[in-house]
């Protein structure tokens, strides 16, 4: 089997001592960041990017570290959901519904144990899926030309809309803002400066790492300052997570179903982990009907969304690695890292740099096992982070962001730019505009335009080349279907909001 030998090769890359160490560090940092209320995988990974560059890591090592952080954050997000009823990030939201009631009943440790096992199974199933399906997709994508890639980028933007909480219009507007911002700077094809207005600092374009950290980390701090009632927190006994192992056996079928649903929604471009955990929970509730005790502390209500969101996190890596199209905010951030290191994901990556792809996949398998080990006996330790006062944590986040960005370019201008993006992100979130499409636009705009121009150069200026092949028509149709699905999902979420 071709895949097996590739994977075996990947393991030889992943078990290099440096890589193993990075996986461990990434898992620990990720779980810590994920556990902090308000800091999810997107912020966590964004925050760690400047540091990663400063370490001077090779691309494979950097990617392994960041993806371990990503997986770690997905694990860690459940800790604050269960113990404090505060989801660390959006995908962890569904876990609060049954996790917190369990914690109130003194079964917090058990809930953490179940969710750790569910996370492990979900993530492992997704990583297996990644191993199997990414090469398939690559085999398909190798036939794509520039017109097909252009269609693919449109697909990514068409689908990011419905699922990133809230309004369709606003998601598309946000994507357009990102795309426009992406054109700022010197046009690489014609060397014409665009929208620079004589500002030489932005001739090289808007650095997306600066934009990312501003949009996510700085805006988060602004949000935090809105509310001063962060002071007192209920102290909750964690207890041992070991009984959770037993109960998770009883949740087996639930975990299996949740993982599958999560994986599928993760693979879909634009859908991601929030949809995964939401669907896993809702469908499980419907499946079991009255047999469940959902909303009042049913262990299956913890298992389903956790399996779902971790499976989705793994699934989202598939379109990112094999097509260069991120399916979620965090994978967009990871794509930013790759592009900054001059690595373009896509079919060619699998062919030319199998070390990166398969080393990463193998590292994910190892990371999952490490996370399970870290999260069962040591969960109490991670939960202690929640007791750290916010007046210490938040300035630390700001400071790491600041010094990290500064050390990349040594320019105060980047810092002002980051602050500006922080304000933009804050205002957007207040007005209920999602910020992820901005990042996606900023990130993919250049590639999208490049492919458009190549297609037009091939056709000699005939726009119909964009919809002349069966593959591109298929992609547009798929985009249409997903858009409608997104609309339906949006309606569902609104209804859920009303029911509350």
């Amino acid at each position: 089997m071709d895949i097996l030998s590739s994977l075996a090769h990947g393991f030889t890359v992943a078990i290099e001592p440096q890589h193993l160490f990075l996986v461990l560090i990434g898992c620990i940092i990720g779980t810590l960041i994920g556990a902090l209320p308000g800091l999810g995988p997107v912020n966590g990974v964004a925050l760690m990017i400047p540091l990663t560059f400063n370490f001077g890591l090779a691309p494979t090592a950097a990617l392994i570290l960041l993806v371990s952080i990503y997986y770690g954050c997905m694990y860690g997000g459940r800790i604050s959901s269960i113990l404090l009823n505060i989801p660390g990030d959006e995908p962890a939201m569904m876990t609060t519904l049954d996790g917190y009631p369990m914690a109130l009943k003194g079964r917090g440790g058990e809930a953490l144990g179940i969710s750790a096992v569910a996370s492990f199974v979900g993530a492992t199933i997704a990583t297996v899926g990644l191993t199997l399906f990414a090469p398939l997709l690559v085999g398909f994508a190798i036939r794509f030309g520039p017109a097909e890639y252009f269609a693919l980028f449109l697909l990514a933007f068409a689908t990011i809309g419905g699922v990133t909480s809230g309004s369709f219009t606003k998601s598309f507007i946000a994507a357009c803002i990102g795309l426009l911002l992406g054109t700022v700077g010197i046009d690489p094809v014609s060397s014409v400066p665009r929208y620079t207005f004589g500002w030489y600092e932005i001739y090289s374009g808007i650095d997306f790492i600066v934009a990312l950290v501003g949009l996510f980390a700085i805006s988060e701090c602004l949000f935090f300052l809105e509310d001063t009632r962060h002071g007192s927190k209920p102290r909750i006994q964690v207890g041992s997570a070991i009984p959770g192992m037993k109960s998770s056996l009883r949740c087996g079928p639930t975990i299996g179903r949740g993982s599958l649903i999560g994986f599928i929604s993760g693979v879909l471009p634009g859908a991601g982990a929030s949809l995964g955990s939401f669907l896993a929970y809702v469908l499980e509730k419907r499946w079991l009907g009255r047999k469940g005790d959902f909303g009042k502390g049913d262990p299956r209500g913890v298992a389903a969304p956790e399996a779902g969101n971790n499976a989705a996190a793994g699934g989202a890596l598939i379109p990112m690695l094999s097509l260069g199209i991120p399916g979620s905010g965090t994978t967009a951030v990871l794509l930013a890292v790759l592009l900054t290191m001059n690595i373009t994901p896509g079919p060619l990556l699998f062919e030319q740099q199998p070390d990166i792809v398969w080393g990463l996949v193998a590292a994910l398998f190892i990371g999952n096992i490490m996370l399970l080990i870290l999260n069962i006996p040591l969960v109490g330790l991670f939960a202690r982070v929640l007791q750290a006062p916010p007046w210490f944590l938040m300035p630390m986040v700001v400071l790491v962001a600041f010094v990290g960005i500064y050390s990349l370019s040594n320019s105060a201008f980047d810092l002002y730019m980051m602050l500006a993006f922080g304000v933009l992100g804050y205002i957007m979130r207040k007005l209920e505009f999602p910020t992820v499409p901005v990042v996606l636009g900023l990130l993919l705009g250049g590639q999208m335009e490049f492919n458009l121009r190549r297609a037009m150069a091939i056709s000699g200026g005939d726009w119909s080349i964009l919809w002349s092949s069966g593959i591109s028509i298929g992609i547009y149709a798929f985009a249409g279907i997903l858009m409608i699905a997104g609309l339906v999902y949006g309606l569902l979420v609104n209804q859920r909001g009303k029911l509350r």
């Binding site: 505060i86 665009r194 602004l222 001063t228 210490f392 400071l399 010094v403 922080g422």
Partner: protein, 157 residues
């Protein structure tokens, strides 16, 4: 952060959306208009202005739609919160400006003390934790990562 117990207060058909809609419509029109000044090179079928124009069309249309049918907005924070947020921006802006002329250690110490205060600690806690954070970051960057941070003027070797 996603609200825990109580959903954040929201306003329907809010003014904020309309203002943003107008602003974005103007930006879209401006981007369209300005893109015509980009010179299309010889032999290029698609010039540097085409893609921005392609983006500004949906942006313009969607912002007009937003003006006509605004959605939900969260309520803006209260006066005291706005002051704190403004304080954060001022502290960070000043920090960015002072980092090079003052050097990393004094600028960071001052900025972090103010930050910790802003996030609700008392002076004693602020001094202690900012000293800790500053020194930890300094050690991390200067020694563990080997990235030079701005020295205090006159104290560099």
């Amino acid at each position: 952060m996603i609200g825990a117990d109580t959903p954040p207060p929201r306003e329907h058909a809010a003014v904020g959306d309309r203002i943003v809609g107008i602003l974005l419509a103007v930006i879209a029109a401006g981007a369209w208009w300005h893109s015509h000044t980009f010179v299309t090179g010889f032999m290029h079928t698609v010039g540097p202005g085409a893609f921005p124009r392609l983006v500004s069309i949906p942006l313009g249309l969607l912002s007009v739609y937003l003006i006509v049918r605004p959605g939900f907005n969260q309520r803006w924070p209260e006066h005291s919160a706005l002051l704190r947020q403004f304080g954060l921006l001022v502290v960070l802006g000043a920090y960015a400006a002072l980092l090079e002329p003052w050097g990393f250690l004094p600028a960071t110490l001052l900025a972090t003390t103010m930050l910790v205060r802003l996030f609700g600690a008392n002076w004693k806690q602020a001094m202690g934790s900012s000293a800790l954070l500053t020194v930890a970051l300094y050690l991390l960057f200067e020694f563990a990562l080997g990235i030079p941070l701005p020295d205090i003027p006159g104290m560099s070797d």
